[in-house]
Structures are given as structure tokens and as C-alpha cells.
């Protein structure tokens, strides 16, 4: 198991290398120049000399291959460079926002999983009854309503019924947990609804499949209590495919909340992404893409390791 984990971690290097090369060259093909946007963006008139000097300062005048070499050299030292816009280190820019995005993602996951397991289980056990239909309507709603719109509904409801809106300034959880949670619980719910719908549907269908398995009949033939047949024999098997979905959704939440963050005025990764793209801030985009790649890789690794924990048939390199 340890050996397998190490091997998987080693595989991260070629994967990231591929991502780095791709994102570097793709960005250079995209039109737009950060220096021009920065200096001329507001309609200012700046001479070509100033722009060239600025280019030189950031090393953008060098041939592409040199720039790529510098970038790779930096990566080898775990140095993502500085933002071309704010001139602060990329790692600092990202970590400022990552805490928030990560927290929302984790809260949404907890919310979704806690709700999805009972919902999916009930729907499967009472298939074809009104319970199943209610769950189906609720989950289809989750899949079809965009998170940002659901977020707006939440805000409007809060305003309408309580005449209250969540705070707009971010308080880290270690500073004031209550203030932090009162702000972040709403976006977590807004994106958690969709998340919950995906997972609940997965659990419902895989539980239905598992309930038809021979070993469930065996458990009943042994005289196992019906609630134990479900929780001990069926759910443990049915949760396996759900773990994959949970992992993929989680990784998506770290970087994919672009619009929802706008709605709740959260300064997260999604917002930073939009900003840096519109500013053509190459180094920052590169850094964020690398960060997301790492997140996806790790979440997938954790999913695979969880599989091994839940399913004895999967044992990696014992």
C-alpha cells in the first residue's frame, strides 16, 4: 500500500510536466498582452519605450524558449514566479484564496454526503413509491438549477424572511468561527445541492443494483435483521461507486465556482481565475492551473486509496 502510494506520487511528476508544457504554450497563443492591458487598459497613452522597458523587466522580451526554460527552472525550485499584475508571488496570491475555496468545497461535501446517503437509500428502498418520486424531483432540481441561481434564491429568501444578508468580508475560521460559518454556509449549500443530487442518484442506482445481488439474499437467508442487511451488507458495497463521484465533484468545487463566488462576493479561486484571465496574467494562470492539476491528482489518489479501504478485493502492491 505504501509502495503503491509512493508510486502514484511519483507519477505526479510526469503528469504535472505535461500540464506545465501545455498550459505554457497554449497561453502564448492566446491574444492579449498583460503589459499593454496594465498600462494602456484604462485608455492611458504610454509610449512604446515604456512598454518595452516593462516587458524587459518581466523578461517577456526574451525568446519563448528562454522564457519556458526560466519557467521550468522555477518549477523545479517550486517557485511559480510573480504575478505580472500585482507583482506579488503567485503562491501567495493563490494561498490567500485557496483557504476560502477549500473550506467551501469541504463544507459542500459534508452537506451533500450527509444528505445524499439517506436520500439515495430511501429512494432505493422505497422504489416506485411517493418517497422515490419526491427524491427524484428534488435531485432533478439539483441537477438542473444552476448553483449561482440557487444561491441568489437563498440570498433573496434570507433578505425577505429575515431581512438579513450574510457578511461580505471574509473572516478566517480560526479568527472567528461563527462569523466565518455564517458567511460560507450559504454558498456551501448553494453548490452542495447539485453535489448532493449527483451523489444521491448514484447511491440510489448502485444500491438498487446491490440489493439484487446474491449475497443480499444470503444475508436474508441467514436471518440478518433487515436494517443490518441494508447498512452492513448493501450500503458498504453501494457506496463504492459513489466515492468516485464525490471525489470528482470535490476537485471541481475547488476551481469551478466562478459564478457562485461572484453571487456571494467571495474572493476565491474562481474569481481569481476570471481576473487573471481577463488581465492576461500568464504566470498567475499557469500557477493556478498547476494547483488545480495537483488537486485533481490528489483527490483521485485519495479516492483510489479509499477504495482499497472499503473494498478488500482492491489491494495495491501488498
Amino acid at each position: 500500500m505504501l509502495r503503491y502510494t509512493l508510486q502514484r506520487l511519483l507519477m505526479v511528476i510526469p503528469t504535472l510536466l505535461g500540464v506545465a508544457v501545455l498550459v505554457f504554450f497554449m497561453l502564448r497563443v492566446v491574444p492579449g498582452d498583460v503589459i499593454e492591458v496594465k498600462l494602456r487598459g484604462d485608455g492611458g497613452t504610454v509610449s512604446q519605450e515604456v512598454i518595452d522597458a516593462e516587458r524587459k523587466r518581466f523578461g517577456l522580451d526574451k525568446p519563448l524558449i528562454y522564457q519556458f526554460g526560466d519557467y521550468m527552472y522555477g518549477l523545479a525550485k517550486l517557485d511559480l514566479g510573480i504575478s505580472l499584475w500585482t507583482e506579488r508571488p503567485v503562491t501567495e496570491e493563490i494561498s490567500l484564496r485557496l483557504a476560502l475555496s477549500l473550506q467551501v468545497a469541504i463544507m459542500a461535501t459534508i452537506f451533500a454526503v450527509l444528505l445524499a446517503i439517506p436520500l439515495g437509500t430511501m429512494a432505493a428502498l422505497m422504489r416506485g413509491t411517493w418517497v422515490d418520486y419526491v427524491v427524484r424531483i428534488v435531485t432533478i432540481g439539483g441537477l438542473s438549477i444552476p448553483s449561482f441561481w440557487f444561491g441568489m434564491l437563498i440570498m433573496m429568501a434570507l433578505l425577505y424572511y429575515y431581512n438579513w444578508l450574510p457578511p461580505i468580508t471574509f473572516t478566517p475560521i480560526h479568527v472567528d468561527p461563527v462569523a466565518n460559518l455564517t458567511q460560507l454556509i450559504w454558498p456551501a449549500m448553494a453548490v452542495g445541492y447539485r453535489y448532493c443530487a449527483v451523489v444521491a442518484r448514484m447511491i440510489r442506482s448502485s444500491l438498487l443494483e446491490v440489493l439484487n445481488e446474491d449475497y443480499i439474499r444470503t444475508a436474508r437467508a441467514k436471518g440478518v435483521f433487515e436494517n443490518k442487511v441494508i447498512s452492513r451488507h448493501a450500503l458498504r458495497n453501494a457506496l463504492l461507486p459513489a466515492i468516485t463521484v464525490i471525489g470528482i465533484e470535490f476537485a471541481f468545487l475547488i476551481g469551478g465556482l466562478v459564478v457562485t463566488e461572484q453571487v456571494f462576493n467571495l474572493n476565491g479561486i474562481g474569481k481569481l481565475f476570471v481576473q487573471s484571465v481577463s488581465r492576461s496574467d500568464f504566470t498567475l494562470i499557469q500557477g493556478m492551473v498547476m494547483m488545480l492539476a495537483v488537486a485533481y491528482i490528489f483527490v483521485n489518489l485519495i479516492v483510489d486509496l479509499l477504495y482499497a479501504v472499503f473494498d478488500p478485493r482492491i489491494r495495491y502492491g501488498t
Partner: protein, 676 residues
């Protein structure tokens, strides 16, 4: 038969299933009893209701589709059907245990063996952890698993099929039940393992005085292990009696037909198999009167007019046939069957073989378990190792062996679906071992294949006509649409189907009809040689006989050669001219069929023949319960020397060291054994 009330009495049980196409009367008024300590068999073909009736007893019918509509199930005087769900749960696993057909899927993959065995002990006997652990070890010992402590920690996927079935039996025995229902307990197992499991169950039920209901389609199993037999057909019990009565003096034409349609190891095989023509009735709208009447050779008008009821003709022997008196009197004897045309083996002696396989090897590389995805450690599985044989025109070579012995791989390699690792394959004197797929095209017209599973080997989205016409298309054998349709119709008639079936889809046909379509497809190119890979093992007994007869018929009419791959010794004996026995990738013995069955030289062949049950209680009782010990070793790590030495009763040091060479020990009799 003990005195007092029976342990279990099923009275007038009716079970219905709601399906999208109507209500199926899966069990229609059956009654039987089981006494304490007695073994009762329920025999019948698939869909006759035998499994459904046992699930109904256990209260395990698939809800909400299945339900008991009438009847009583008295267990120790209590009607199980009136109990609440909780009362019924308390009986399951405690007083009545059940063992299922599929050991591979009947154990929960994510729970350890120990957890699964101890579960009923915790639930029913409220044992402590330590007591349950001790009992679980004791149970594993009881079912013949030696290293119990280690096994308790393991998970189902780490155990072989035979081991898993032992674990299932251990779970069944856990709380000392009074009755065990075994639903096809050995159908999924190899013949030597099947014998081990059946011996074990019989022995345990005697020692622990547990009553057993064995549900099976295998008449041999019934003959060996049952005290009393109930024969089911189309949701009814149509005959009931002691094993001797039912086997030696069957009173129902269906039972008689069933007995005759099984190829048997203990009878001469020079007659064609008698078959029961037609198919079992549709249980959504069963025919009036006797349900077997449409297929019965002795049918009279009265059969359809009279409701079927079981009546006693002799003490403890009942039948539902209204003409049973005539059967008893011996005035109703089916016509004896024509002898098979004996013009096969003798003429082929001198002819050039159509297929010659020499020192064929097929190795597979598999990732070594335990190595990671980056390392490239691979292990070699020698699926086929040094296999040689020839097949003459018009001859059938039977290839027998247990699962995993490589017999199917031989077939696939001969068909060039797998590339041979070494050796040569010659077809009609031409070496085809290294032909490219393009060069094989012409050769393939001469070599065709019939697969085991008629359910998955036909494309469900194509009509029967399209399926059969496809090879005609590929080889442009039919110039016009009309010509093609005529050829398809001709092929359908050739395999005993009707022209109009060309319009149907595979799911609209029965298993036997589908297999006929598979045969018609193979015949479309007018091949000279057909690889038959377990062509009848997925079929019911009465259908199996029809297909075997068809294959024999076609062979004599079209002068076909067959490589007939199967695990059923009796079927192979019936159809083959010569037989080759495989074990772990090697051929251990080849001989003419009669020679091999009468005079087997290799200990493995002898063990296989010993293990195969014969549907005659007298023969079975006279035989010593000689069973082969142990299981087939992993092909990843085959034993040194003779691959059979780990299970061989004769093995000595030489066997462990040296690979036995094949030796000629008689005219046309070859064996690979140091001791033979």
C-alpha cells in the same frame, strides 16, 4: 421413514409472479413433505418452479413481484406463511438454512469470511465474540477447511469456488439448523469438486441428523444423494417416490423421457439420445389438463380433458399421469431407437487428418499480483503447454477437462482467435499457425465455431435471418436478395427451425432454439470442421439431447469434423470418436472413446470418471465414495514435474521431478504418466 409428523409439510403451495407481460404461475399447487434427517430432492428443468418454491418456504421471494397466493408451509406444525416478517427472520438461519447455487456471488465481497460465518451466531445464539470465533473455527474444520484461523481473516475473492461453497455450507450449519435447503449447490462447480461437496453434505446431514432439500436438474446428483425424489414439470409435481422407484420404475412419461435424454456413462452409447420434443409450456397461460401432454408421446384426448392430480400407484410412489397403469403394466413402451450409423471411426483411419495440432503452446503474460503499476513484472500462465492431436475428416475429438485446464484456449488458438506461442496448427495439410488475418479469410470458410452461451453469442439487435446471412454477406456467397433468403431458410430447416423464425430476434427464442441458430450460422459457410465450445452446457437436459442429436445428424450428413470441448464426461462420451483429457494446460490422455472410458490409464482420467455421478441409485450406492482431494493448482505457479502430482494418489518423487512424456500404450491410446 421416521414416525410422527414430518418436519416440513408443503401443502398446495401456489406462487405467482407479476411480470410486465402478465402473471406467471411459477408454482401451481405443489405438496410434499420432508421428514427429520431425510434428504429429499426436487428435480426439474429451468423454469419449472423448483427454486421459487424453496424461496417461498424461506419467505425470500423477490418482492413485490412474487407472492404466495395459496397454500400452507408447515414447519414443525407452524405455518410459516402466516408468520410475521420478524418471526420468519428468526427462523431463517436458525432452524432453516439455505445454500445457493452461485458460490462466487453468494458471499459478500467486502466482509471477511469470519464476519460472515459469525454473523448468524451473533444474531441467533447471542454468542460472545470469543465463543463465535471458536465455533467458526470448528465449523470450518467440519466442512474440511484446514487452515481455518487464516481463512477467517480472508475475503471471498481469495477463495476458490469450491472453498466458497464450503464456507456457504459452514454458514448454513452455524446454528445447527433442522433443515437445509440446497439450491443447485454444485452446479457451478467442477466435477471433482462437486463430488467433494456432495459427499461432505451427505456426510454432515447424516452425522448431524439434518434434513435436506436438494434442488437440482442433475439426475446423477439425485441418484446418489436423495432418499426421496419429487419431479417437477411446469409448476407441478408430476411424480414422487423413493429414489429407487423414480429411477428404476418411473411412472410419468416426462420422467421417463428425462432419464433417456441424458447421455450416461454406464450405458452403451450406440443409440441416439431420446429427446423430449418441443418446449415446456408458457406459465402465464398453461395448457389445460396435463401440462406435459403437448410434448408427450402417449398423449390422448383424455389427457387434455382431465385435470392433473398426483395419485398413488404404489406405496410412496405417486404420479400425475392418467395412463400410469399402462406404464406399470408395461403396455406403454416407447419405440426403441434406431442405432447410430456406425460408419465413422473405422473409415477415417487412413485418411489425411483435417486438423493437425503439434506441440501447441499458448502462454499468457499477466501482471504479477503484488507488483505496482509502474513495475513490469509479469508472470507467464502456460494456458496450453505442448498439446498435440489430430482430427480426421468426419471424426469428433472430445476435449474434456475442468475449468481452467486450457481446453477453451486450445479451441480459440485453433480458430486463430489467439496467436499461438509455439507449435504448429495445420488445416487440410496447410500450416496456418502464422497466417495473417487476411490470409486466414479463405481458410475460415472451412473452420467454424459454435459457442457455449446461446444468450450472449448472438447479437440482440439483429434478426435471426440477419445473423445467419452475415457470413454469406462477408464471403459474397449469395448474389441476390432472394438467393440469400432461400439459403437462410434452408439453413434454418437444416437445424430444425422454421423459415418464419428468420424474422425473429434472439430474445424471442428459447435457449435451445438460439443454440440452433448458432449452429445454422456456423453451417452457412459449409465448413468442414467446427469447434464446438461447450455447446450444450448452458441447456436443459431435454434440450441438450436435441442439440446433441442434431450435431450428430449434421455430421453424418455433411461429413463434418468436430473438436468438441466440454466438461461433461457423459456428453463427450456420447458424441466423440476419440477423447483427449486435459489437466492444467496439458493433455494427459488420448484414446478412442470406448477404450478411454473402459480402460482409463491416467489417474486423473480415472478420478474424473469416478467423480461423475450416474443417474442410477443402484450404481451410485455400489460405488465407493472415492473423491479426488484438493483443488486445481494455480496455473500461475504450476507444480513441478507432473502437474497432477499434488492431487495424484500414485505420485512419488519421480512424479515431482520429471515431466512425464506422452507414451503410446496401445493402438491409438496415448498417456502422459510415469505410473500408467
Amino acid at each position: 421413514m421416521g414416525g410422527g409428523a414430518p418436519l416440513l409439510a408443503v401443502e398446495d403451495l401456489h406462487v405467482q409472479f407479476d411480470t410486465s407481460r402478465g402473471v406467471v404461475h411459477a408454482v401451481d399447487g405443489i405438496s410434499y413433505t420432508v421428514n427429520r434427517g431425510e434428504t429429499v430432492a426436487i428435480v426439474g428443468e429451468s423454469g419449472c418452479g423448483k427454486s421459487v418454491s424453496s424461496l417461498a418456504i424461506m419467505g425470500l421471494l423477490a418482492k413485490p413481484a412474487g407472492r404466495v397466493t395459496r397454500g400452507r408451509v408447515l414447519f414443525e406444525g407452524r405455518d410459516l406463511l402466516t408468520l410475521s416478517a420478524e418471526e420468519m427472520r428468526a427462523i431463517r438461519g436458525r432452524d432453516i438454512a439455505m445454500i445457493f447455487q452461485e458460490p462466487m456471488t453468494s458471499l459478500n465481497p467486502v466482509l471477511s469470511i469470519g464476519e460472515q460465518i459469525m454473523e448468524p451466531l451473533f444474531i441467533h445464539l447471542k454468542m460472545t465474540k470469543d465463543a463465535a470465533q471458536a465455533r467458526a473455527l470448528e465449523l470450518l474444520q467440519l466442512v474440511g477447511i484446514t487452515d481455518g484461523a487464516r481463512r477467517l481473516q480472508q475475503y471471498p475473492h481469495q477463495l476458490s469456488g469450491g472453498m466458497r461453497q464450503r464456507v456457504m455450507i459452514a454458514i448454513g450449519l452455524a446454528c445447527n439448523p433442522k433443515l437445509i435447503i440446497a439450491d443447485e449447490p454444485t452446479t457451478a462447480l467442477d466435477v471433482t469438486i462437486q463430488a467433494q461437496i456432495l459427499e461432505l453434505m451427505k456426510d454432515l446431514s447424516r452425522r448431524l441428523n439434518i434434513a435436506m432439500i436438494i434442488i437440482t436438474h442433475n439426475l446423477g446428483v439425485v441418484a446418489r444423494y436423495a432418499d426421496r425424489v419429487n419431479v417437477m414439470y411446469a409448476a407441478h409435481i408430476i411424480e414422487r417416490g423413493t429414489a429407487d422407484d423414480v429411477f428404476l420404475r418411473p411412472l410419468h412419461p416426462y420422467t421417463i423421457g428425462l432419464m433417456r435424454s441424458v447421455p450416461r456413462l454406464d450405458l452403451p452409447r450406440d443409440v441416439k439420445l431420446e429427446t423430449i420434443e418441443g418446449l415446456p409450456p408458457d406459465l402465464r397461460a398453461p395448457p389445460p389438463g396435463c401440462r406435459f401432454a403437448p410434448r408427450c408421446p402417449f398423449r390422448r384426448d383424455a389427457c387434455v380433458a382431465t385435470e392433473m392430480t398426483l395419485r398413488d400407484l404404489a406405496p410412496n410412489h405417486a404420479t400425475a399421469c392418467i395412463r400410469a397403469d399402462e406404464i406399470v403394466a408395461g403396455t406403454l413402451v416407447p419405440a426403441s431407437l434406431p442405432a447410430k450409423s456406425a460408419a465413422t471411426a473405422s473409415t477415417t483411419e487412413t485418411a489425411e487428418p483435417i486438423l493437425k495440432v503439434d506441440a501447441l503452446r499458448k502462454y499468457f503474460l499477466v501482471p504479477l499480483s503484488g507488483s505496482g503499476m509502474l513495475s513490469s513484472k509479469m508472470a507467464t500462465v502456460k494456458a496450453v503447454d505442448n498439446v498435440s492431436f489430430t482430427i480426421a475428416p468426419g471424426e469428433t475429438l472430445g476435449l474434456v477437462g475442468e475449468s481452467g485446464c486450457g481446453k477453451t484456449t486450445v479451441g480459440r488458438t485453433v480458430l486463430k482467435l489467439e496467436e499461438a506461442t509455439g507449435g504448429t496448427i495445420s488445416f487440410s495439410g496447410v500450416d496456418i499457425t502464422h497466417r495473417s488475418p487476411r490470409e486466414m479469410r479463405e481458410t475460415r470458410r472451412g473452420i467454424q465455431v459454435i459457442f457455449q452461451d446461446p444468450y450472449s453469442s448472438l447479437n440482440p439487435r439483429m434478426t435471426v435471418g440477419q445473423i445467419i446471412a452475415e457470413p454469406l454477406h462477408v464471403y459474397q456467397l449469395a448474389k441476390t436478395k432472394k438467393e440469400q433468403e432461400e439459403r437462410v431458410a434452408e439453413l434454418l430447416r437444416q437445424v430444425g427451425l422454421f423459415d418464419y423464425m428468420a424474422e425473429r430476434y434472439p430474445h424471442q427464442l428459447s435457449g435451445g432454439q438460439r443454440q440452433r441458430v448458432g449452429i445454422a450460422r456456423a453451417l452457412a459457410l459449409e465448413p468442414r470442421f467446427i469447434v464446438c465450445d461447450e455447446p450444450v452446457s448452458a441447456l436443459d437436459v431435454s434440450i441438450q439431447g436435441q442439440i446433441i442429436n442434431l450435431l450428430e445428424d449434421l455430421q453424418s450428413r455433411l461429413n463434418l469434423s468436430y473438436l468438441f470441448i466440454a466438461h461433461d464426461l457423459a456428453v463427450v462420451r456420447h458424441i466423440s470418436d476419440r477423447v483427449a483429457v486435459m489437466y492444467l494446460g496439458r493433455i494427459v490422455e488420448v484414446a478412442d472413446r470406448d477404450e478411454l472410458y473402459a480402460n482409463p490409464k491416467h489417474p486423473y482420467t480415472q478420478a474424473l470418471l469416478d467423480a461423475a455421478p450416474i443417474p442410477d441409485p443402484r450404481v451410485e450406492r455400489a460405488r465407493a465414495p472415492r473423491t479426488l482431494k484438493g483443488e486445481i493448482p494455480s496455473p500461475l505457479n504450476p507444480p513441478s514435474g507432473c502437474v497432477f502430482h499434488t492431487r495424484c494418489p500414485l505420485a512419488d518423487d519421480a512424479c515431482r521431478r520429471e515431466i512425464p512424456q506422452t507414451r503410446q500404450i496401445g493402438p491409438r491410446h496415448i498417456v502422459a504418466c510415469h505410473k500408467a
